[in-house]
Symmetry: D2
């Protein structure tokens, strides 16, 4: 019952055997997958106009090239804050208008795909939906880049097969994002698996990002792991930043303050130079 | 931002503190969660009228009280058989008509919930969709029982919170189904976590089933683990049976033949007696 | 550099291909690996003469056929109780003298192997030492049965290879004991992997035991998992019992009281009959 | 029964609360734990005089400051090459004599501790022996630095408690070495957990090393992960290098050639400068 994937192993379109050269994804002036190293930053959830704009201006000034913010939030408990919904999307669009930063947000429901796509520049599929095949098929019809986060216990093979669904549906603009896997270790929220970065670069032509915020769950580990991601060969990172983490509606313990984010960016820029990666100049 | 769950820990409605007595779910003449021990059996995927009916009659004769069969199949690869879709649902309804067995199938897409509900008696949420919150909300509006399978790396807490979404939405007919978790062990496809059975029985009032087919991935382990599930206190099992496993479109290596299924049922019935569980008499 | 294991896969002597018939291990009147189902019971650690003897008489009366008790305790912290050492061995020998129960204890240090062997009937290699190859070689020279516990993250293959060290050294009296593996789940101390029981029975001729006390870490899960182990085909279990668990020096939360142990034994005996396993009659 | 660790949590001596300043370990001209970044390199196993000396000279020339080589090898199978034993120790001592590089090797048996200590400069406790408490106590009496590798499924807490055994016994010269943990991922041999590096730096004053060879099991991932380790804040790495990996007696697939090792060292030196770490100048 299997379609012929003739000699490409379990995946085909995503493999370097099928397409040896790196996939480049252009968004505005940025080219993801090129020597540019991109930082997507912003709050876990869009909470208010003021919170989003303050963060957007700050991360832009520090060198971030994309703004992130959740409008629809996947939450383990039905009693937790579920996001502002379309109101959040509107605030993201407004922040882009004001700052010029392209925006990234997550879509969770197949019925929201067109709505979300009408507001944002890059659409994220979260870890919990990595194997939500109908959602993958839906975003495969878009002409927008997709960030496909790794499932909490997805093998590299399963993750690449999930990406294969999107490419097979016609959308080749897929960015893989490592965000920590589930292990026995309790000190960190997840175990950020940086092995995945060089491994994916060998197997696939797709750009690879890293999310050290979810990957560690502790703000004090974010900067060292962001630097490690850059050193391991990632094409960018996605980082949670909040003007006041202790008051955040979600994920405060893993969010950087604006000040700490700025310090991290300075360190990344110093490293980028010796690693032949390009970052915006201050 | 959290709703008051006043002293119930992370979950509320699903907890024994909130509702001490066992939840009973009636389907036809069966009462799930009672001393009855139920066996849901059938092929991984509905492949054809002949395959489904042959299996249905055979499992009924051996004592199964429900028929399972996949119409929409979650498959890691886009190139694998994806199920017959509505045609499969029609065949399930026909099999119920003929054999009198209530039928169970999985729904994956929020847009298919009403369609699937119009054909089957129990709706399954698969492991990959355990934290697909929009799907959980959609089935929470139904007046049909839901089998909620455990995610591959879901903690008991996360699993119960997923169930909480369904109860909170108004549907209290939720059956939890352990189907194996992901570990380092490679010999088995998954590691069936039978600890979960008595643990859930302590924490929650909901019925608990076990799927030894996915939980082990090897047909030769299905019978011993089905017996272990019964001994551990499960309210039922869900088992893959195929008239000719080597020709199955999916999961052949973990499917029992009709003959082996019959043998397993005989052994379960002998055990049920000394464990004060009720199974249909031959 | 590999010795020829000619067609036996990674392991040789432990495999059913090499030796199809079940290995039987005689200790006193007991034959481990036969249809007899054996219960090894006793305190985590030998704490005092009174504690050990009270427990020994009680578990014997309930039908246990072996007494366990730790003299040398592997403890994560150097500040935790490390066991009574040789004094504990003497108390075990005295308890055997009084009750007639053969005794089981763990050895951790190669230099203690002869000492321990001079006092007890079965020697246990604990999970932390499963790949302590010098210790394995040392016990391989004994003419005493060895209980080889599974390492916390050992695959079945690694575990069987550890057993292979003992058989290769000349000691074929090896009992494999599943005691829970390490997973992401936090509710239980470990995840008891009962899949291992039928899997090992297929691959190997060695007897297989299960330790539901360490495997769950919660006394309220011990009885259901002990029953599940029997149903899955185990040849016996090893269970922690303490006259007063809340006062135990170690592992109190996973120890059964004498009363609960008696109740569990009654349930196991009822099950044993329909599973063609033999247990002592009350 | 617990000794008072008065407000230090589970561990005491290893914690930053107890000793805020970084522990420095002097070996020859090197100071481990200082701004120096150290590379310990050499073959998995000492195979012959020629193999060891060729590797020693080559890694020294490239900037390694220590030579590693296994004389006693922990092997899953009793039929695999077990190391040259004391002959291997003599070759290590000879290689030090010739090249001036201090040497590192593993000890597995408590009875070999004095012998091994008489030959080498740093003693390694391998992952399989991390909780071999008698071995920890034995090396705690030495006046030599100990590399304590993380167990395959050891939490940070358990690992630090294992180190506590050594400090509590009187030896404060302990270097922690992350070497990959066991997860569900099959592409890599282990999952190198770089989160551990900044986490340990926060919790403890002990130096932290990383082993990207065992941590990935694939030579093509070693260089990116070595760079990531440096970026994450490690004090050094331990890397397997072999003149001819395909002919290695063990671990060939994860060993760098001499040429690839040289290339990696050049990249690490470039990075070290911008990270304020000191490496030997070419």
């Amino acid at each position: 019952m299997e379609t012929d994937t003739s000699g490409f192993g379990p995946y085909k379109l995503v493999s370097r055997e099928y397409k040896p050269e790196d996939t480049l994804i252009s968004v505005g002036k940025s080219i993801i997958g090129s020597p540019q190293f991109h930082v997507i930053a912003g709050p876990c959830a869009v909470e208010s106009r003021a919170q989003l704009l303050e963060t957007a201006w700050a991360v832009k000034e520090a060198g971030a090239t994309f703004l992130r913010g959740g409008a629809f939030k996947p939450r383990s408990s039905p009693y937790s804050f579920q996001g502002l919904g379309e109101e959040g999307l509107k605030l993201l669009a407004e922040a882009r208008e004001e700052t010029g930063l392209p925006v990234v947000t997550e879509v969770m429901d197949v019925r929201d795909v067109e709505l979300v796509a009408s507001y944002v520049d890059i659409i994220q599929i979260g870890a919990r939906n990595m194997q939500n095949y109908f959602l993958l098929k839906e975003v495969s019809r878009l002409e927008k880049p997709i960030i496909l986060k790794r499932g909490q216990s997805a093998t590299l093979e399963e993750w690449l097969l999930a990406a294969e669904y999107v490419l097979d549906g016609g959308n080749w603009q897929v960015i893989l994002c490592e965000r920590g896997i589930r292990t026995f270790e309790k000190y960190t929220r997840n175990t950020l698996d940086l092995n995945a970065v060089p491994a994916l670069k060998n197997i696939s032509h797709l750009p690879v990002f890293v999310d050290p915020s979810h990957g560690t769950g502790r703000w004090e580990l974010v900067t060292p792991m962001a630097k490690a991601a850059l050193a391991a060969g990632a094409d960018g990172i996605i980082v949670e930043v909040h003007p006041c983490p202790v008051k955040a509606f979600s994920d405060g313990e893993q969010s950087l303050t604006i000040k700490k984010f700025g310090k991290m960016m300075t360190e990344l820029k110093k490293m980028a130079k010796v690693l032949d990666r390009v970052m915006p100049i201050e």
